[in-house]
C-alpha cells in the first residue's frame, strides 16, 4: 500500500483540502467554495456555534491536522467566538498549508467565495505533489461504529468486524471502538479484557458514567428503528454492538481527540465529563464518526442492520450490512453483505477476511460506495471533557 507522507511524520490514505466554517454564519460561503471547487477531495466541515468551547477547538485542530488532510481553508464571519488564530497556528505547526478568510474583512459573500476558490486551487497545487510512500497495515488506524442496528447486527456484521479487528491488531494496526452508552450491560466482560486491572476500573467507570448521563437525559441510545428490527432493550443492543470489538486485549481508554500511541485495541469514551449539559452526547451517528476521525482513524467500518447510507468528510466509510433483506434493498450503498452469514452462504471468518481485504484496498485508494456517491456528512457540537488519567494508557507509562 501507498500513503501520503505528511510533514509532521504521519501518513494519510486520502489527500483532502478542508474548507471549514467556524460559525453557522459562514456556512453558506464555505459550502459555495466547496460546491464550486467541484472536487471530491475539497470537503466541507464546520462548527455551528458562536460560543467558544475547548472541546470543539481541540477536535477541529485534530481534524485539520488529520493524516488524510493535506491543507485547510478556514472561513470565519469575523465576530464569532471560535479561536481561529489558535486553529490556524495548529495547522501551520503541522506543516500543512492553511489560508484564513474573514468574510467581514473581505467585502462579503461574493468576494470571499472567489478568494476561497483561489485558496483551494492554490492548496491543491501544493499538495498534489505530496510524496506517496510505503504504507503498512501497522500504519493504519481504523474506527468502528454501528448505526441503524437491528437484531441481525449482533450476529453477523458486528462479530465479522470483530474478526477483522483481531487480524488488524495482530498486524500492528490501532483499532478503536466506542459509544460507552451503547456498551451499558457489557462493563464487566469488557473490564476483564483490559490490559491492567487499573485500566479495567477506568473502563467500568466510563460505562457507569454513560449510564448516569443517559439516565439524566431520560433515554438510552436506542432509536425506534432498533426496536422495529427486533432489539428490545439497551443491553441487548449493547451486547450486539460490543461484538465489533473482537477478542483482543483492550490496550487503552481514550477520549475524543486522543490519538492512540501505538497499535492495539482502544475504547473511545464519548460521554462528556461533569454534570450533563449541552444535551445528548452524540446526537447522530456522524457525531461519533467525527470523534473517531479526530482520534486519527484513517477509515471507518460502519455496520448497519436497518440500513444507514451515510459516509463522512475526511475518512472513507466502509458500510457492512448485517441484514440480508436490507442488503437487497440498499445494495448500492453497501460495501459488504454480512447478511449472507444468516443465509448460510458464508462464515463469520470469511466475511471478516472480506472486510480486512477491502480495508486494505480502500487504504490503498479504492473508493468506498459512500465516497463514490458523494457522502461527506459532518457534525460537531458542544461537549466538555477532562483529560484521561494515567491508568488509561498503561502501555505508555514513564
Amino acid at each position: 500500500m501507498k500513503g501520503y507522507l505528511r510533514a509532521d511524520g504521519r501518513k494519510g490514505i486520502r489527500n483532502v483540502v478542508l474548507v471549514v466554517y467556524l460559525v453557522e454564519c459562514a456556512h453558506h460561503v464555505a459550502r459555495a467554495i466547496v460546491t464550486q471547487s467541484d472536487s471530491p477531495d475539497a470537503q466541507l466541515i464546520g462548527f455551528p456555534g458562536c460560543f467558544p468551547n475547548e472541546y470543539s477547538l481541540r477536535i477541529m485542530s485534530q481534524l485539520c491536522t488529520h493524516p488524510n488532510v493535506g491543507g485547510v481553508v478556514l472561513v470565519s464571519l469575523g465576530c464569532e467566538g471560535f479561536n481561529r488564530e489558535a486553529l490556524s497556528v495548529a495547522i501551520e505547526g503541522s506543516g500543512r498549508p492553511v489560508s484564513t478568510l474573514v468574510i467581514q474583512q473581505n467585502g462579503g459573500t461574493t468576494s470571499t467565495i472567489e478568494r476561497g476558490l483561489s485558496a483551494v486551487r492554490d492548496i491543491q497545487s501544493q499538495i498534489d505533489i505530496v510524496e506517496r510512500g510505503h504504507f503498512d497495515v501497522s500504519d493504519l488506524m481504523v474506527g468502528t461504529i454501528c448505526g441503524g442496528s437491528d437484531g441481525t447486527s449482533g450476529i453477523s456484521a458486528n462479530p465479522a468486524v470483530g474478526r477483522c479487528f483481531d487480524r488488524l491488531i495482530a498486524d500492528g494496526a490501532a483499532c478503536i471502538f466506542e459509544e460507552t452508552g451503547e456498551l451499558i450491560g457489557c462493563e464487566t466482560v469488557m473490564a476483564d479484557r483490559a490490559a491492567t486491572p487499573e485500566l479495567g476500573y477506568e473502563v467500568r467507570a466510563a460505562v457507569e458514567k454513560a449510564a448516569r448521563y443517559y439516565e439524566t437525559l431520560g433515554y438510552g441510545s436506542f432509536a425506534p428503528g432498533n426496536a422495529e428490527g427486533g432489539l428490545s432493550t439497551q443491553e441487548e443492543k449493547s451486547l450486539g454492538a460490543y461484538a465489533k470489538s473482537g477478542d483482543s486485549m483492550i490496550h487503552g481508554l481514550i477520549k475524543p481527540g486522543d490519538v492512540p500511541p501505538g497499535g492495539g485495541l482502544y475504547l473511545l469514551d464519548i460521554v462528556p465529563d461533569g454534570e450533563p449539559r449541552y444535551g445528548f452526547p452524540n446526537i447522530s451517528d456522524n457525531a461519533e464518526i467525527v470523534e473517531l476521525i479526530a482520534c486519527g482513524a484513517h477509515l471507518i467500518l460502519f455496520t448497519t442492520g436497518r440500513g444507514s447510507v451515510v459516509g463522512s468528510a475526511i475518512s472513507p466509510v466502509i458500510k457492512i450490512c448485517a441484514n440480508p433483506d436490507t442488503y437487497r434493498n440498499l445494495s448500492d450503498d453497501m460495501d459488504i453483505n454480512a447478511g449472507k452469514i444468516l443465509e448460510g452462504a458464508a462464515t463469520l471468518d470469511e466475511v471478516g477476511r472480506e472486510i480486512y481485504d477491502l480495508t486494505c484496498r480502500v487504504a490503498d485508494s479504492e473508493r468506498t460506495k459512500s465516497e463514490a456517491l458523494g457522502h461527506q456528512e459532518f457534525i460537531l457540537t458542544y461537549k466538555t471533557f477532562e483529560p484521561i488519567g494515567p491508568a488509561c494508557l498503561p502501555g505508555r507509562q514513564g
Binding site: Y219, A227, G230, T233, E235, G240, E343
Partner: protein, 99 residues
C-alpha cells in the same frame, strides 16, 4: 425440497431465546428442543422467540448474557419483545410513546 438454513438460531447454550434468521409466518411449526410449537404470530428477521416458558421477572438471556427481564409470563415459542421484556438498566423510546 429446497434446503433452507434453520429459521431460528441459538446464539449461546445458556440462552432462553432463539433469534430469527429468515421471516416466518404465523401458523408455521417450529421445533424447539424436541417439541413442535405453532407460532401464533409472524416473526421477522432479527426478532426473538422464547426457548422455554418464562415467569414474570425471569431474566432473558441472549449471547449468554442478560438482556433484561420478562414483564409477564411468556409461553414457549412466543415472540419476545417490548410487550413482555424490559431493560434492567434504562428505558427505550419509540416514535409514538415513551416506555
Amino acid at each position: 425440497m429446497e434446503k433452507k438454513p434453520d429459521a431460528f438460531v441459538l446464539l449461546h447454550p445458556g440462552d432462553n431465546v432463539f433469534v430469527c434468521c429468515h421471516a416466518v409466518d404465523a401458523g408455521s411449526q417450529v421445533e424447539i428442543d424436541g417439541e413442535t410449537i405453532v407460532l401464533t404470530e409472524s416473526i421477522e428477521v432479527g426478532h426473538k422467540i422464547a426457548r422455554q416458558s418464562l415467569e414474570s421477572g425471569d431474566r432473558i438471556v441472549k449471547y449468554g448474557a442478560p438482556i433484561g427481564s420478562a414483564t409477564r409470563a411468556v409461553a414457549r415459542g412466543e415472540h419476545i419483545h417490548r410487550q413482555n421484556l424490559a431493560s434492567d438498566y434504562i428505558p427505550s423510546h419509540t416514535r409514538d410513546k415513551d416506555e
